[in-house]
């Protein structure tokens, strides 16, 4: 019996099973996710010199924003993150569009399409990264031959090797990989719209694309909103794809460096650069604050206007 149980009140019998049910999850979660997060936040306001931690307040952040040693990397990575995110947002309309097609009544082969289009999502970054690197490689010749087959050979260039196209290319590869997720979630939301509602729309003469925009889309806005915010958060996790294709240095010339790769290098060092846990923590804290800001804006400005419809 645990006398400190939150359920233990004078009038009610103690309910230890509540604690038992909740304890494992809360313990693991707190120890491995929450506490380390606070540790990161703590490190960002300290500096360790020869194993002594000194409290430095905002100094680390100042260095990150303004000190040339760190700020170039930081602002570059931040800018790239924004670009990367914008490209990723392309993924949601495509996913929704595919879901809309798949959710059409009496569409034959729907299961086959779904299975096929979802497959890239299963592949590891290693496969996706290297696979595309090979396909786009000027040495091999698959991409030029394919483009040549449709008469677009002039479009080919070593995209991943060029500063001004590498990031965009990686963004599109990421879209290729993850379109399956918004597709599946929107598909599930679309098929939960009762058939009779669609019938009524057909009888009212609201069909085809107009039906999608006037009837179906408004009813799945909550799902679209959730996918958008998850894309936003997931954006800050992006590291693996760039690490695999361009290495931790996020070349060419840091043009594909995003906050995830910057964080890795800053924490652990890479080749010539020494790792600095405090600055790394500062980068991580900045990422955390940006995510927090984004989520708060979403929850308070957007989520409230989206009502979930009960059918």
């Amino acid at each position: 019996m645990t006398p400190a149980s939150p359920a233990g009140r004078a009038a009610r019998p103690a309910r230890p099973h509540i604690i038992v049910f909740l304890a494992p999850a809360i313990l693991v979660y707190t120890a491995v996710m929450i506490v380390p997060l606070f540790e990161t936040l703590r490190l960002s306001v300290f500096r360790s010199v020869a194993n002594a931690d000194t409290f430095v307040g905002w100094a680390n952040f100042g260095a990150l924003f303004f000190d040339d040693r760190w700020s170039h990397g930081f602002w570059n990575a931040l800018r790239n993150n924004v670009i990367f995110f914008c490209i990723q947002m392309v993924q949601n309309p495509i996913g929704i569009g595919l879901a809309a097609l798949l959710a059409l009544p009496r569409l034959r082969g729907s299961a086959f399409y779904r299975t096929a289009i979802f497959m890239p999502t299963l592949l590891s970054f290693v496969i996706v990264g290297f696979g595309w690197k090979l396909i786009l490689s000027p040495l091999w010749g698959v991409a030029p031959s394919l483009l040549g087959a449709v008469g677009l050979k002039f479009l080919f260039a070593p995209y991943l090797g060029r500063e001004n196209s590498a990031l965009i290319t990686l963004g599109l590869i990421s879209v290729w990989q993850y379109v399956g997720v918004p597709m599946m979630l929107c598909y599930a939301a679309l098929i939960s719209i009762p058939d009779e509602l669609i019938d009524a729309a057909e009888i009212d003469g609201i069909v085809g694309i107009e039906q999608f925009f006037k009837i179906k889309l408004p009813l799945i806005w909550p799902t679209v909103g959730m996918i958008s915010i998850l894309t936003f958060v997931g954006n800050f996790n992006a590291f693996d794809l760039i690490y695999v294709t361009q290495g931790a240095l996020a070349g060419p010339n840091y043009s594909t460096d995003i906050l995830g790769t910057l964080l890795y290098r800053t924490f652990f060092g890479y080749q010539l650069q020494l790792g600095d846990p405090n600055m790394g923590a500062t980068v991580a804290t900045m990422m955390f604050l940006i995510i927090l800001a984004g989520v708060c804006i979403y929850l308070f400005a957007v989520q409230r206007r989206l009502s979930r419809y009960q059918f």
Partner: protein, 343 residues
């Protein structure tokens, strides 16, 4: 047809010629032939799975028939999309657009057709008044009661001024008291608008009270079509006889029936009278249901199985009493071994 002849015959609002529908290998509807006069209230009635909803959806254009032709107001409607058939439909679950308010629900289709705004407003207000929806125009469906949603669904169909109204079991989701009221409202609606109405239900009471013409469907075929009272008085087969009328008609088979020259006899509970004299069948009351207005006695007879008898008002008779029963003259139906009525 000369002009004089044409004027005296009501125009045909809907014609079904040999409509057949198969889903995969299953026959859902077989050879449906029907003509509906303009202004009629026709009810498709039958048990679950008889194909009545499928037939309605074919008329609406939400399904295509496998074979056969469909004509609406004289013109072929085969393959014509639902919006162009000039129909309005009321669904069992009302199917209101949850994200639009009542006014939005009722005007969406009109806006799409490009009807000018003042005309839309005119029609909207006329329908709202007829259905007492005026105070609810700004509400969303989630804020309405079942009966109110029902009326909005009807309103949405009315404003399109359709040639044909289709109702798909509209009263099934309402509670008993509301069902009776709404039934009367629908009958009133028909009187006021005069539009042809096709109504689908599994409830024979709704059919009997609302219809100008009843079409009884079973296993994908029309069993009988005609005026309610004709179906009641002269059912074409055992199925119709047992389906129409509540409580169900009593059926007697075996030797009793053969003695009367049929494979099956039928007599309605209200057509059996209790006699102290010469009885055709005698038995013991097994169970009595006293409703105040009527009493139903369930009598286990010696030769005719269990028979239900209706007594008007109250009776002293109860469980365990012996009774003698005799059918009213001319009220004994006879059916052959295929279940078809014998004259």
């Amino acid at each position: 047809m000369t002009r004089n002849e044409a004027a005296s015959v009501p125009p045909i609002a809907l014609e079904l010629i040999g409509i057949t529908k198969q889903f995969g290998r299953t026959d859902v509807l077989t050879g449906i032939d029907l003509a509906v006069d303009e202004g009629d209230f026709v009810v498709f009635v039958g048990p679950s799975g008889c194909g009545k909803s499928t037939l309605l959806r074919i008329i609406a254009g939400l399904e295509d028939q496998t074979a056969g032709n469909l004509r609406i107001a004289g013109a072929s409607a085969d393959g014509v999309p639902p919006a162009k058939r000039g129909i309005g439909m009321v669904f069992q679950s009302y199917a209101l657009y949850p994200h639009l308010d009542v006014a939005g629900n009722m005007s969406l289709a009109l806006k799409r057709e490009g009807i000018p705004r003042d005309e839309i407003a005119r029609r909207l207000n006329a329908a709202a008044e007829m259905l007492e929806l005026a105070p609810l125009l700004k509400r969303k469906p989630s804020a309405l009661s079942g009966g109110q949603r029902q009326r909005v669904a009807i309103g949405r169909a009315i404003v399109r001024q359709p040639k044909l109204f289709l109702f798909d079991e509209p009263l099934s989701n309402l509670d008993a008291a509301l069902r009776v009221n709404t039934r009367i409202e629908i009958a009133n609606l028909h009187r006021v608008l005069g539009t042809t109405m096709i109504y689908v239900t599994h409830d024979q009471t709704e059919a009997m009270t609302l219809a100008d013409k009843i079409v009884v469907l079973y296993e994908g075929k029309i069993q009988q079509a005609g005026r309610p009272i004709d179906l009641y008085d002269t059912p074409a087969n055992v199925f119709v006889a047992g389906f129409i009328g509540s409580p169900k008609m009593n059926f007697v088979g075996g030797d009793e029936a053969r003695r009367a020259g049929a494979a099956m006899l039928g007599v309605r509970p209200e057509h059996l009278s209790i006699t102290t004299g010469d009885a055709r069948w005698t038995g013991v009351v097994r169970h009595a249901e006293r409703l105040g207005s009527d009493t139903f006695l369930y009598v286990q007879t010696q030769t005719a199985g269990e028979l239900t008898v209706r007594v008007v008002g109250k009776t002293e008779l109860g469980v365990g009493d012996s009774v003698g029963l005799v059918p009213l003259p001319g009220m004994l139906h006879r059916f052959d071994d295929r279940g078809v009525r014998l004259p």
